[in-house]
């Protein structure tokens, strides 16, 4: 008598070496798929069809939407830097250097990194969960079935929007960080506006500005592509969406910090030394 019960495959415990081998293969395949997605998205940025309305919508979500947290955190990062360094400068009687330190640290390092990490947390997670939800509800397949390329329609606009807005958000973070630093320096060290701002502006060279604006471009590519990659490969329903979002944020944050080191080294070599 035939039965409607599906056959269950016989379970055999895999050996640890085979498991390690499979895990390694999966990681290499993931890296290959990610590289393919980045290459595909970058190539499609320069060819039609384009979706300018989607780019503007994403710029609004990423740029305008992130502005309040960028303003708030940028201000306090600048302030806390002065709080922590003020005592050291007072010990050496070099309180005038506060402006130099805050400006260089913010523009070269803290502004791009903080803005990058904040946008990863806010928008990287949003992109991964949005695309992940679209995958598990078959909206991405529906898009392909309607003859639309999901990379062009979903990935490219998010990539362009992040690349255009993150440097601007970084510039805003730098500025409010300096304002925060000045306010704290004024009240703790008694620095005047002229003393602080003159030193801050004179400390910055062309190379510092290039560093400060080149890093966010690379970070933006990392945020958008990593978030889209994990979003588009979501499997396993709503639980999978949560997993994809967490993985996207963790991977993008780590990638930003690691690339920041190598990028910093390279840009310092080119522009500062």
């Amino acid at each position: 008598m035939a039965t409607l019960t599906p056959k269950t495959p016989e379970y055999t415990k895999p050996s640890p070496i085979a498991g390690l081998n499979d895990a390694l293969k999966r990681q290499i395949l993931s890296l290959q798929s990610y590289s393919y997605l980045v290459g595909d998205a970058l190539a499609k940025m320069f060819s039609a069809p384009r979706y300018p309305e989607d780019v503007l919508e994403q710029m609004d979500a990423i740029g305008v939407g992130s502005l309040p947290i960028i303003l708030l955190t940028g201000f306090f990062i600048g302030g806390v830097m002065v709080l922590n360094t003020a005592a050291q400068f007072q010990r050496f009687g070099e309180t005038a250097l506060t402006g130099d330190t805050v400006a260089i640290a913010l523009v070269r390092e803290l502004g791009p990194t903080i803005a990058g990490l904040l946008v990863t947390g806010r928008n990287g997670s949003g992109i991964a969960s949005e695309l992940g939800s679209m995958v598990v509800t078959e909206q991405v397949d529906a898009m392909r079935a309607l003859g639309t390329d999901p990379v062009r329609k979903l990935v490219v606009p998010r990539l362009i929007a992040t690349v255009l807005t993150l440097p601007l958000l970084t510039a805003v973070a730098d500025l409010v960080g300096l304002i925060g630093g000045y306010i704290v320096a004024h009240f703790t060290l008694g620095l005047s506006a002229v003393e602080f701002w003159n030193r801050a502006i004179q400390a910055l060279a062309f190379g510092d500005l290039v560093m400060g604006l080149a890093k966010p471009v690379v970070f933006a590519i990392i945020i958008a592509t990593v978030a889209c990659f994990y979003g588009l490969r979501t499997r396993g329903g709503t639980q999978g969406v949560g997993r994809a979002t967490t993985t996207a944020v963790v991977v993008a944050s780590v990638a930003i910090l690691v690339s920041d080191f190598f990028l910093g080294k390279l840009l310092l070599y080119w522009f500062v030394s």
């Binding site: 008598m1 409607l4 509800t137 909206q139 529906a142 392909r144 309607l146 003859g147 639309t148 390329d149």
Partner: protein, 276 residues
């Protein structure tokens, strides 16, 4: 009105042809050595238990999944040989109704239905009447400005059908179009599918595990004169002339392929139990 999509098919040839198609994933083989043909105007009902590979078969037929071996020829195009960019172009000429509708939840009903037209840069003056016509066909014109989360499951499926037929495709794939719906709403959806088949001559593949829907398609037709569903005529020997055929999947393979009467009269124990 845009020109109806062309079919690069030799007259008399099947519109859809699977030749020894196999596909598998990490979990194992989902389809193995699948072969069948669908002639113009035919509705092929794919029956099978949950997880038997019905959805995968439809996605392979639409070029959304690439088989590991075998050939899939649709409207004269070998999908297994085509690049993704050409497949995107090909898919604009077919309709696909997904299991849960798969409407874009950030777009309203009108934008969902007109999605393909906007992608083809069709003028807005032409888009609106065509969207209204498609929505009128599925009796959903009142939902024009609504968003998917304001619609019931049945309404979403109907909008999904409107979206699939906006360009009057010669082929439509339905993936469990009545799954999870109440009997009355299911009947409305089946009537829509009958209308598309019998009035527009749409060829289709329909995956389902609901026998009542499958036999509804096999035993009834839409009569344009009376504007209602009528039983399909039978000759004196009990033979029906229905454009509906069946394909039963089991253990990743085709278990049965044939007409309604053959299926009903089969003495195979699995089919008897499946149909009971």
């Amino acid at each position: 009105m845009a020109a109806k999509p062309t079919i690069d098919n030799t007259p008399g040839e099947p519109l859809i042809r699977f030749e020894d198609v196999s596909i598998g994933f990490d979990e194992g083989e989902v389809l193995r050595g699948i072969s069948f043909e669908v002639v113009p105007g035919e509705t092929k009902v794919i029956l099978g238990e949950s997880g038997s590979g019905k959805t995968v078969l439809l996605k392979v037929a639409a070029g959304l999944l690439r088989p590991q071996s075998g050939r899939v020829v649709v409207m004269g195009h070998d999908l297994t040989e085509m690049k993704e960019v050409d497949l995107l172009d090909f898919r604009r000429r077919i309709g696909f109704v997904f299991q849960e509708g798969a409407l874009f939840d950030s777009l309203n009903v009108a934008d969902n239905v007109s999605f393909r037209l906007r992608e083809e840069s069709v003028a807005i003056e032409e888009t609106e009447p065509r969207v209204r016509e498609a929505l009128r066909f599925v009796e959903m014109e009142d939902a024009y400005d609504k968003f998917p989360d304001e619609l019931s499951g049945g309404m979403r499926r109907r909008v999904s059908i409107a979206r699939a037929l906006i360009d009057q495709p010669p082929i439509v794939y339905y993936d469990s179009p009545t799954g999870g719906l109440d009997p009355v709403t299911s009947q409305t959806i089946i009537t829509l599918i009958l209308r598309l088949r019998d009035l527009n001559g749409v060829t289709s593949l329909l995956a389902t595990h609901r026998l009542q829907d499958a036999f509804g398609l096999a035993n009834f037709a839409f009569d344009s004169k009376s504007d209602r569903v009528v039983p399909i005529w039978e000759d004196g020997k009990g033979r029906q002339f229905s454009p509906t055929n069946f394909l039963v999947l089991r253990d990743a393979q085709v278990y049965f392929q044939g007409e309604t009467q053959e299926l009903l009269k089969s003495a195979d124990p699995y089919l008897r139990e499946f149909l009971s």
